[in-house]
């Protein structure tokens, strides 16, 4: 409990006044000669029990009256649910520094009944109100979009700040905590309270992220200097599943079909319900009206939900004659969370897919050219050319989607610097590169270094069938849409090249060496395949499925960067570049600086590209981190958790002086009752009289 006027507590010794008066009164006695001592002795003996307790009770109540009055004037505030330091309780000052970590992810826009305040609004208002009441010297906001500290003048700014409003980008709690830690260290902050406002979505908290361990260790070192307050809006059952009924819609594919007579957009979308109750009633069907907006036209399609899931596959929307480019959106009726009721998409004529194979080996060139030229869709056009490393400078990079490099790595420190620079520019533009190890033992080790990667030496693989593992969930070796795994395990690798550098392994050989690796780049994709399609090296060519799928996926990804449209997840695009985009559809009240984080359709003004931004797919999953996980994440750190519901009106801190006044009144009534003169048992004792027998 804190006090808004703590100096009033200096008057607390006044509560001793009744005791002092009592003691003074005891000293100011009179002495008198008395004859009827036998009654006095008897009365004194009787007085030792209840009467003495009553006397002390009266004294205690009088003291309580004054103490309660002083406490009430001190304007106490109840912040018990949030805890508080002992020093803060008596100084009346809030923490010297307060850092608010605000989860603005789409799930924070849900409300308890669909009409009241959202979790985000409730959390922001409650934090602002609490901080206004208890006060803080310095307030810093770290919101999930920017994840950078921003100092605020007053807690009330939180209510008006656009950066504290809704967003469609997922949050990254470890990154936000890291920013808070950096801010604390950089500014040498003293007593600091870190408020976290979140709905504990597992996707946002990333409880398995390795950064949590280092973060926790760092915060533990601060001791009680840094205190955490978690304002949780989880609203989940013990199984971690939301109890509320909420539907989300997502367009899985928006493909343009260009025919001779007419063009159409073919949509595949999915409506998902995250409610437990819907999962329980798989047999119950429900129809959801889906509103489809395409440019200026609008139509409604009923989608049947079974077991909480509804799918619409291959839905054709015929375009007006001559239209082959545009954008649209799908939406479902309003429910608990408006943030997942809309999904935006764009469409355009797919560009021709062009692949460049750089190799001196004819066999390798032939295999890779073949794998790149055969398209999975007849409507797509794909071309590939084979060039030698010497002819690289003559490549026209503008329309290249994929580069298959089977040659020594161009070293940035040598004459190959220009080549390396061109490859970097190509990747930065969004292109994809797959590097294969060049031929020759000695040449391999002297190969250059690119993307901080380097080939080492060729190694023989004694066990031909030993592909230990590969990532089937994402990237080039992911399973098919039907869920069938690629036959990576059937590949035979007789020879592979060693690789040095920091890369994520997508497939691993039996001895732990990588077969396919991906280098993390801000944009585009860079892959290193440790063997070649040559029959002496591997069965990539013989068992061509894996090679073909791998190349086609890389080609498809690369082609997207060249297309005039793109569908991005919120928060992925560069905020600075996105701020220059023109909004075509979506929330008009959003700041342009937050274009990268807000769902909608944008147009790049200089290139004319259409970009659709939507929430990421994991945002539709209602899984939250469990209580035990949260406790484990903050183990050893001063941490208080407060569970709240969206729309909750109760404040985190409240002035409770009324309670003290009530206590005072009760104490006064009690004191008055105890002081009431007791009915004298002897009514006529004073009257003279007598009897005679």
């Amino acid at each position: 409990m804190n006090f808004l006027q703590p100096w009033m507590l200096a008057a607390l010794p006044l509560a001793l006044i009744p005791i002092i008066i009592h003691l003074i009164n005891q000293r100011r006695y009179q002495s008198t000669q008395w004859a009827a001592m036998m009654f006095l002795l008897s009365a004194n003996r009787m007085n030792r029990g209840y009467a003495r307790i009553r006397q002390w009770l009266i004294l205690a109540l009088r003291t309580l009256v004054i103490a309660a009055l002083i406490f009430a004037i001190g304007r106490p505030i109840a912040s018990g649910v949030l805890g508080g330091s002992v020093a803060g309780a008596f100084t009346g000052r809030g923490p010297a520094n307060t850092i608010v970590l605000l989860d603005r992810s789409p799930s924070m826009q849900s409300s308890s009944d669909g009409t009241s305040r959202t979790k985000l609004e409730t959390g922001v208002s409650q934090i602002a109100e609490a901080l206004q009441t208890i006060g803080t010297e310095r307030l810093v906001l770290i919101e999930s979009n920017a994840a950078t500290p921003r100092e605020l003048d007053a807690p009330a700014d939180l209510l008006d700040l656009p950066e504290a409003g809704p967003s469609d980008a997922s949050a990254d709690l470890p990154t936000m905590l890291l920013a808070a830690l950096d801010h604390i260290n950089a500014n040498q902050l003293g007593q600091t309270e870190v408020w976290i406002c979140s709905d504990l979505r597992a996707h946002d908290w990333r409880a398995d992220d390795g950064r949590w361990t280092s973060l926790r260790d760092a915060f533990v070192e601060f001791g009680r200097r840094i205190r955490f307050r978690l304002l949780a809006f989880s609203e989940v059952s013990s199984e971690g599943i939301s109890n509320t009924v909420n539907l989300s819609v997502r367009v899985e594919e928006a493909m343009l079909e260009v025919g001779e007579e007419e063009s159409a957009v073919v949509l595949s979308l999915k409506i998902d319900g995250d409610a437990e109750s819907m999962n329980d009633s798989e047999s119950v069907s429900q129809t959801v009206p889906l509103t489809l907006s395409l440019d200026e036209s609008r139509s409604v399609v009923d989608v049947e939900l079974r077991g909480g899931v509804g799918e619409l596959t291959g839905h054709r929307v015929v375009l007006p004659r001559g239209v082959t480019r545009g954008h649209g959106s799908v939406s479902i009726p309003a429910d608990l969370n408006p943030a997942d009721n809309d999904f935006y998409f764009t469409f355009d004529v797919p560009p021709a897919r062009r692949t460049v194979v750089v190799t001196e080996d004819e066999e390798v060139g032939r295999v890779l050219k073949l794998a790149a030229e055969i398209t999975p869709d007849e409507s797509l056009k794909s071309v590939a050319e084979v060039v030698s490393p010497r002819e690289v400078n003559g490549i026209s990079w503008e329309d290249v989607s994929l580069l298959l490099w089977h040659a020594g790595l161009p070293d940035t420190a040598t004459s190959d610097a220009s080549t390396a620079k061109m490859i970097r520019a190509f990747v930065n533009r969004g292109g994809r590169v797959v590097f294969f190890p060049p031929e020759g033992g000695s040449r391999l080790s002297t190969s250059g270094e690119l993307f901080a990667m380097r080939w080492t030496t060729w190694n023989d693989q004694p066990d031909e069938n030993a592909i230990r593992s590969w990532r089937g969930d994402a990237d080039l070796l992911a399973a098919t849409m039907a869920g069938t795994s690629l036959p990576v395990g059937r590949l035979r690798v007789q020879r592979y090249a060693g690789l040095e550098g920091e890369a994520t392994s997508l497939a691993t050989l039996a001895d732990g060496k990588p077969l396919l690796s991906r280098v993390a780049t801000p944009r585009g994709g860079v892959y290193f395949c440790s063997t070649t399609p040559l029959a002496t090296d591997s069965s990539l060519a013989a068992d061509g499925v894996v090679l073909y799928v791998m190349i086609q996926r890389a080609l498809s990804d690369g082609a997207k960067s060249l297309g005039n449209t793109s569908n991005l997840e919120a928060g992925v695009a560069n905020p600075a570049a996105a701020s220059k985009w023109q909004r075509l559809s979506g929330r008009s009240e959003a700041l342009s600086s937050e274009n990268a984080f807000v769902a909608g359709v944008f147009e790049q003004r200089d290139e004319g590209r259409l970009i659709a931004i939507n929430r990421s797919e994991p945002e539709d999953a209602a899984t939250t981190v469990s209580d035990s996980q949260v406790d484990a994440l903050f183990q050893g750190v001063p941490f208080v958790r407060v569970d709240r519901e969206a729309g909750s009106g109760s404040s985190l801190v409240e002035e409770v002086w009324r309670a003290f006044l009530i206590v005072m009144l009760i104490a006064m009534i009690g004191e008055a009752w105890l002081c009431l003169p007791r009915q004298r048992p002897v009514e006529n004792a004073g009257l003279p009289g007598g009897v005679s027998a």
């Binding site: 006695y29 000669q33 009365a43 004298r680 004792a685 009257l687």
Partner: protein, 314 residues
Amino acid sequence: MWTPQKSRDFIDPSVLASLAGMPLMARRPMRGTVSGRHTSPTRGSSVEFAQYRKYVPGDDLRRLDWRAHGRSDRYYVKEFEADTNLRCCLVVDTSGSMEFGTVPEKSNDVLSKKVITKLQYARRIAAAIGYLAVGQGDAVGLSCAAEGIVKHLPALRNPSHLRAIFDALEEIKGVGQTHLVEVLHEIAETTRQGAMIIVMSDFFVDPNELRACFEHLRFRKHDLSLFHLLDPMELNFSFGRPTRFLDMEGGTAIFAEPSEIADRYQQALKEYLDNLNDIVKQTGVDYHRVSLDEPYQEVLTRFLTRRATARGVR
């Protein structure tokens, strides 16, 4: 020899004059030494017929009722009541507690404008009764009771003896503890049977011990009267401030907050008075509870009147 002038402030002639017409009557037969106005337990020669009794040899033939013999042919002796005087023994408690007193509020007595103690009140009553008794030819004695019988004057009917009683009353002071129970037992034994014993005290002793005294005195055929003297302050216990009460009989002092123990005090007082009431009823004692703010003339008038109406009660 020169003797200092006695103040005799406990004697009010106007009160004595107003009481002069009222006889001091005994409630039971008294065994006097001479003829008087009180009934004797023996038959005598008064004019008041008592009863017939069968003649037995040796009876005085002059008392034979010949008319009765003529009617019944039997011999009857005619007996008459005997009148005698009484011996009045005044017992005054002179313990320290009898020196307690306050200024009476409702008394019109000119003497009571100053502090009047229980001992002073007892003096007035004793002096008035002694005066009345001697005036009607009865013998009066005085015993002062404190830790024992501190002063004793035997009962005499000589009018000059009254002066000695007044002198004794003037000289007594309230000192020491009360051993009233022992004193009453002693008086019961040492005083010849059939006397009137009047006790003036605050009776601050255990009532159950008093019961034994009263029964002892009754057994000795004494006519016992009690004047229970209580100060209004003792009855009301109207103190305001914390007070240190000093025992007037030399006991320990008690510090108390009067407002806190007043109810307990009243409860203890009521229990005591109720108990005493029961005892005096059961032992046939003539009991008069007196508040010191009550004029003693009224108290004595009530005492004498009640006795006169109850005359002859055995």
